[in-house]
C-alpha cells in the first residue's frame, strides 16, 4: 500500500491520539483547553477520516465521522495531510470559517506541544517530568502505530493475519504508562492502558529504560538479557510486534 496513505493513518490515529493524554497530563495545555467546546473533522481524499473533539477539558480522538463537527478540514491527498503534519501545508477549511482564529492560533498550541514531547533532545530527557510524558506519548504512538501498520503495511498485515488471538501488553513498571494491542481473528486494535490477562507482555523496568528502547537508544535484545526489559507470555507474538515496531520509523522517522 502507498507509503503516504499509511503515514496519514499513523499521523491521524497514532500521533493525534496523544492529544487525549496531553490535555490531561500537561498542566499548561489543560488550562488552555479547559473551556473549549470544539470538534474537528479531518477528511482526506483517498485516505483516512478522523476527528478530534475537545469538550470540558477532555479530548477524544477517533476514526471516521464525527456527528456535526464544528470544523471540517479537507485534504486533497494523504500526502497533503502529511505535509500539514510536517508544517509545510494547510488544510482546506470546509466548515468552521468563524473558527479561523482558533485554527490558526489556538489548536496549533496543542500540536506544537505534542511535537515538543515527541521530538526529544538529550537535554530535555534529563528532566524527569519531560521524560515521563515523552515516554507515555512515545509508547502510545508506538502501540497505535503498530495497530495501523497491522492494517495497512504489507509485512505487518501478514504478521497480524497470522497472530495468535489475545492481548499484547506493553507496560512501564511499576505503575505504567501502558498500552496494549488486541489481536483477534487476524485483526488488531490498539488501546491505551493496562490489560488484566495479556497473552504476552513486554515490561520495561522503569521509565528510563522504556524511553531508551522506544527512542532506539537501547536494542531490545540487550535490554532483555540485562533484565531491563522483561518479555512474558507468547514470545512469538512479541517477536512479531518487535518486527512491526521496527517498521514504525520507516513512516514516522
Amino acid at each position: 500500500m502507498d507509503r503516504e496513505y499509511i503515514k496519514a493513518h499513523l499521523n491521524l490515529h497514532a500521533v493525534f491520539v496523544n492529544l487525549e493524554d496531553l490535555v490531561l497530563y500537561d498542566e499548561e495545555i489543560a488550562a488552555i483547553v479547559k473551556n473549549w467546546n470544539v470538534s474537528l473533522q479531518f477528511i482526506v481524499r483517498n485516505g483516512p477520516r478522523a476527528y478530534v473533539a475537545i469538550h470540558d477539558g477532555r479530548c477524544t480522538v477517533g476514526r471516521g465521522r464525527y456527528k456535526n463537527p464544528s470544523v471540517v478540514l479537507y485534504f486533497f491527498s494523504p500526502a497533503h495531510l502529511n505535509k500539514m503534519f510536517d508544517g509545510k501545508a494547510n488544510p482546506v477549511i470546509l466548515k468552521g470559517f468563524t473558527r479561523l482564529g482558533f485554527l490558526l492560533k489556538d489548536f496549533p498550541k496543542l500540536t506544537k506541544r505534542l511535537e515538543y514531547y515527541l521530538k526529544p533532545t538529550p537535554e530535555l530527557l534529563k528532566n524527569s517530568a519531560y521524560l515521563a510524558l515523552n515516554t507515555r506519548f512515545t509508547l502510545t504512538t508506538a502501540v497505535f502505530a503498530i495497530g495501523e501498520l497491522g492494517k495497512y503495511d504489507d509485512a505487518c498485515k501478514n504478521a497480524t493475519s497470522h497472530m495468535r488471538d489475545g492481548v499484547a501488553l506493553m507496560k512501564v513498571l511499576p505503575g505504567g504508562p501502558a498500552a496494549h494491542l488486541e489481536f483477534s481473528h487476524g485483526a488488531v486494535v490498539a488501546r491505551k492502558g493496562d490489560a488484566e490477562k495479556p497473552m504476552s507482555a513486554i515490561f520495561f523496568k522503569n521509565i528510563k529504560v522504556a524511553s531508551e528502547v522506544l527512542n532506539q537508544k537501547l536494542d531490545s535484545f540487550t535490554g532483555v538479557a540485562s533484565g531491563l526489559i522483561m518479555p512474558r507470555g507468547q514470545i512469538g507474538m512479541i517477536e512479531s510486534i518487535d518486527m512491526m515496531l521496527d517498521r514504525v520509523p520507516a513512516y514516522l522517522g
Binding site: F221, A225, R232, M244
Partner: protein
Amino acid sequence: MKTYTYKKSSALFKRAAQVIPCGIYGHMSPSPYVPAMNYPFYAARAKGAKFWDVDGNEYIDYMCAYGPMVLGYNHPGVDAAAQKQLKSCNCVTEPAPVMVELAEYLVDLIEIADWAFFAKNGGDVTSYAIMVARAATGRKKIVLVRGGYHGVAPWAQAPGHPGVIEEDHANIVYVDWNDIESFERAISENRGQIAGFMATPYHHPTFDDSAFPAEGYWQKIEALCNKEGIVLIIDDVRCGFRIDMAGSAKYFGFKPDLACYCKAIANGYPISALVGTEALKTYAAKVFHTGSYWFSAEPMAAALATLKELKRINAPALMNKKGKKLLDGLVDIARTHGYTLKVSGMPSMPYLRITDDESLMLHQDWCGEATRRGAFFTSHHNWFVSTAHTDADIKKTWNIADDAFKAVKKQYG
C-alpha cells in the same frame, strides 16, 4: 533445592554488550529465555550431557547446543578422529581424502543420496538446495511451509524483518503445514514457475507445538512434485539422525530429491551437507557455491566418526527411548502438581508446554525454575535429547522438575 546465581555470566554479558551487537546474537541470544534472569549466558566447559556455566553451575543440557551435540560433549571417539585429522591437515590448498570417504559414507547411509556436498551451516545447504532446484528446473519460485525454519538467509527469514527486503520474498510462496490444498492452490496459481518445495520432515516451529505429517501427506506432496516437475527438498537439518539414520524421509515413507543435513552430523564440529539424487547431480555441479572453510578436513573426520558411532549404537532409537522415559516421567510429575504437560514431536527432540496457561507464562516460569536448579529447559524451542543422557541424568531431571513445579505452584497457586 539450591538455586543458581549468575554473577559472572551477567558481568560477562555487560562487557559483551559494549563490543558485540546485542551481546549475544542469533539463536543463542538470551532474549527468548523467559525470565532471562533465571538463565546463564556463558558456558565454561562441557562433558557428556552436561555443561558448566562461568559461575560454576552444572546443568543437564536439554538443548544440546540447539542440536549439534548428539553423542555427548567432548566425545572421545569423535574428538580423537578430529585430532588425528588435524595433525595431518585441515584447511589446506586442496581437500583431504576424508572428504571422499565422508561423501561415500553418506551415499551409503542415506536412502535417497547419490552424491553429497559439504558446507558449514544448515543455511548454507538450504540456500544451495534452492539454487540447485532453480538450476535444474529453470524456474524461480520456491514453496515453503509457513512457520518453518530454514536458516537466516534473507529468503528464509520472515518478511518484514530488519535487513530483509520485499524482493527477497518475491519468489517465495507460503503454504500451511499439512495442507495439501494450499500446495495445490500454489501450484495452480504459479503453474510452471515453481522450482522447489522445501519443508522439514515434520513441522517443528518455535513457540508452538510440533505437528507430525498427516496420514499420506508426504506421499501426496511427493506425487504432486513429481507430476509438476518440482524439486522436493527436505530440510533435515534439525531432525537428521535423531529420527532415522537413513534420513527422516525414510521414516515418513517418501523420497525427496534433495536433503539438507547439519546439527547432529558431526557432534558439534562445523559441517553441513546436501545430499541428492543422481538426476540432480549435474545441476548441483553447475551451481557455484563455496566458502573459505567448507573443505576443512577436521570436521569431515569428526562427521565420519560421529555417523559411524550413531549407526553402531542405533542412536535414533536410543535417543527416542531415553526421550520417552524422560517425558513420561515429566508428564506424571506435572500431573501430581495438577498441571498438564503437553509433549509434541519426536521424543528425541520434543516440544513441551504446560497447557493450563495459554499465555505460557506459567510454563516459562517452570522452565526457568528448572534451569536455575540444574536442568537446562527452554520454553520457546524444542528440546534435544542425546545418547549421552543417562538414567541418572533423567532421575535427577525429574527431581529438579518436581522442585520447579513446587516453586511455580507457590507463585500461581
